[in-house]
Symmetry: C2
Subunit: 475 residues, 2 copies
């Protein structure tokens, strides 16, 4: 990568009044107005960063962590065939997104000599069928485990960990398990940290102040990614470029523009949904990662001043070209409540040519001689144009190719955009108070001491048979 290479292009031609008309499109007055709001948001960002409240912005500078992860990975690679990550939310979405983007899409199916690195399995649910099937395929003696939980008390992850710890210790003894374990958790607090101290387990810290959805460039993401052979240093280089571009250009940066355009579309134009639609299998899981980042950060009941927020935008994942055949009809003709963000790559890392056969058929002959990559990118361009012509706002993020630097650049840009959006909406993008109540009800149902009142509260709202319908028996 050269210093002046373009790592990402944001094209918002299909959002503006010049193309969509002034009712649907953004006018130059809209754009000037949001630039003022963005300038304030950037100042706010800088102030909070100086106070140490935004440590994610400095993660790309960390030169030591990628080295630590790569050293660990070099050891693991010698001894193990499989790496099992236990985590949920950001602890799973970050590593999964980058693994899918930067390793071959069939990494886990490749034979060992072609793979070169362990298979990577990210277990992010407590379904006994799914988790059981995964464990059945793993040989403890050949498997390295990375459990990730900041608090150490995440019910799903810790249930998985208890099952794995029990199985591995029974099979290999405490020392055998210890040799196969990396714990990623808070550097000081929580039950997992206490277990690390008691048992002398290997551990890496999650920096205080970095929440799950902003943690992909901490050990949460870098350790599992290094285990699978991802160029984590390159990923950080790309992220650093994005941070530097933001630090230098502020309200004119791509991150700020991404935040500002979406805020305008939501608040001024009533478009509450943002469809993130990659046109590359490799980028599919980036849309899932972004879905958490955006939705959990901005979906807030209250503004920072305590007033009702009533805002937030819903990011929805779609995959091109596949979902042209399932979602595009709705995007073209359904309610005017969405903006589509195309996520594309100019070049693909594999070439597959469509042979010149079936030439006598008009409906097929034109395909021959093109590559699949051309077809996929022409579908992206054709779909974007059709949406624009039909008065459906859309914009594009395009990278020259999917690689460590471009993906790192994209992730950091989107994290920056999310924090700036928090300021635009007036909400705290770093908390998630809404998830606590459901956890407490679950604790009550699971019989956890101290949550007895939740069980009573649960039973207070009794379901009425009147509002339940069973599949009618056939009599």
């Amino acid at each position: 990568m050269e210093k002046n290479d373009v790592l990402l292009t944001l094209d918002y031609n299909h959002l503006v009044a010049e193309v969509l008309g002034p009712e649907i499109g953004l006018t130059s007055a809209d754009l000037s107005e949001v630039k003022k709001s963005l300038a304030k948001a950037v100042k706010d960002f800088e102030a909070r960063r100086r106070e140490g409240l935004l440590p994610f912005a400095d993660l790309p500078q960390d030169a030591a962590l990628p080295k630590t992860c790569r050293k660990l990975a070099a050891e693991v690679r010698k001894k193990f065939d499989d790496a099992l990550v236990l985590g949920i939310g950001g602890s799973a979405l970050g590593p999964s997104a980058v693994f899918t983007a930067l390793r071959p899409l069939n990494h886990n199916a490749l034979p060992a000599d072609k793979r070169g690195w362990p298979r990577l399995h990210v277990a992010d649910n407590v379904d006994p069928e799914g988790f059981g099937a995964l464990l059945d395929g793993l040989d403890p003696s050949k498997t390295f485990v990375n459990v990730i939980s900041k608090s150490g008390a995440t019910a799903e992850t810790m249930s998985q960990f208890m099952i794995v710890a029990d199985r591995f210790q029974k099979a290999l003894g405490p020392e055998g398990f210890k040799e196969r374990l990396l714990v990623t958790t808070d550097p000081q607090n929580g039950v997992l940290r206490r277990l690390v101290e008691e048992n002398g387990w290997t551990a890496l810290p999650i920096p205080p102040g970095v929440g799950g959805r902003f943690s992909v460039l901490t050990a949460v993401g870098l350790a599992p990614l290094a285990l699978a052979g991802v160029d984590v240093a390159g990923l950080l280089t790309g992220a650093r470029r994005a941070q530097e571009a933001f630090d230098r250009t502020g309200a004119a940066s791509q991150a700020a523009l991404f935040a500002g355009l979406n805020w305008l579309l939501t608040v001024k134009k009533g478009r509450g949904s943002l469809v993130m639609m990659p046109y590359a299998d490799a980028l599919g899981r980036v849309a899932d990662w972004f879905g958490q980042l955006w939705n959990e950060s901005l979906g807030k009941a209250k503004k920072l001043d305590g007033s009702p927020a009533g805002a937030g935008q819903t990011s929805i994942k779609a995959l091109g070209a596949t979902d042209q055949h399932s979602q595009l009809q709705l995007y073209m003709e359904g309610p005017q409540d969405k903006t589509i963000c195309f996520l594309g790559t100019e070049a693909f890392r594999a070439k597959l040519s469509i042979p010149k056969i079936f030439k006598k058929f008009n409906e097929l002959g034109y395909l021959g001689g093109h590559s699949l990559g051309e077809l996929l990118n022409n579908e992206r361009l054709g779909t974007a144009k059709a949406l624009a012509e039909s008065g459906r706002p859309n914009f594009s993020l395009t990278m020259p190719k999917v690689g460590p630097e471009t993906v790192g650049f994209l992730l950091q840009t989107l994290m920056l955009a999310t924090v700036l959006s928090g300021t635009l909406y007036g909400v705290d993008p770093l908390d998630q108070p809404g998830v606590e109540l459901g956890k407490k009800f679950t604790y009550g149902l699971m019989g956890r001491a101290g949550f007895e009142e939740m069980t009573e509260r649960y039973d207070r709202l009794k379901p009425s048979k009147k509002f339940m319908v069973e599949s009618s028996p056939l009599g």
Copy 2:
């Protein structure tokens, strides 16, 4: 399955005014009103069915097709290790959803003796990296191919097919390819049907009048599912039960209620999004299948009478418990524009117990002794209750266990609900006119004869550099 077994329960306690209050919840007046509309929709359904316009309703009666598919599968099983499906949209979502639900979640990773049936690969994109990686893992001599396209002209599927046909014919000769090929297409029309006739390829018909998103119980779904060892007769039995329940109970059926409740929530309560949230890995892809069925059917610009529709509901997929850690914050505190539909199973087909370890820690000790299935279901119940308490409408579809009959029942119920919803919204649920324009632009970009004007039209809307921002070079 006994005749009187309950196959599905619809619980909408968390939608009604008695629980949520009259502003957010549905009142008995709302429910009476919708019952009248549903009675009309059921009559409309019956009339259209008599006219032969709704052939999907009669598919579960077909006793011959499952036999044909099972016979084919018995032959394929003897000779081949892999079954490759080429299809997109409904041709991929139907088989994928049921395969994931009814085969072990690690089916493709199991050794041949435990698997018993070929691996199943559903290729539904034209990404050269993804499709290339898949093909690289297949040995043509040991692979059976099922190409699915009603028109025979689907660009994505036919590009894949041209690549596969070329490779297989080069490796095995035309006869070798022929022995490994099943074509699923229109019984009379289209280029794929012509190729079948010219080459004497084996083919199964897609019944006229059954569109992609309603095709899971035709050969589109049943053939690949039988190849992978799914009990397709059981699937049809369950679907037949759903159809019979609807035929007998009409506006009081679960299908009608599902349609009516969602229509009320959308049109009367302004809740434009329906989150389909399975709490079972096995049901994850059912949410994707439903996402096409619902969104493509109801997202229409015009009503049947030509007036603007401006309605339709957006189904969004989430997976429990995983997405409690990425989406629940938004559902609990974000804009009041969503309804959550939990899709659950009372029992799981595997048991995994959490060992009684780490007992001295309050945060972990309570988990020991429970099973993962209990945890997952308690998370579902706890989340549903937390949403209801916070004034967030939600309802539940619960099956006793995931099996051929319950899944067949669910799919047919949801297809029936979709057609009824079309009537409630006044739109045609069977067409998809909005996807044509994007295809035409793509044809133009790909140089297909007859689409030259689309290329000109494409170039008319030139992007301005003014609305493009490149990642700033570092200078």
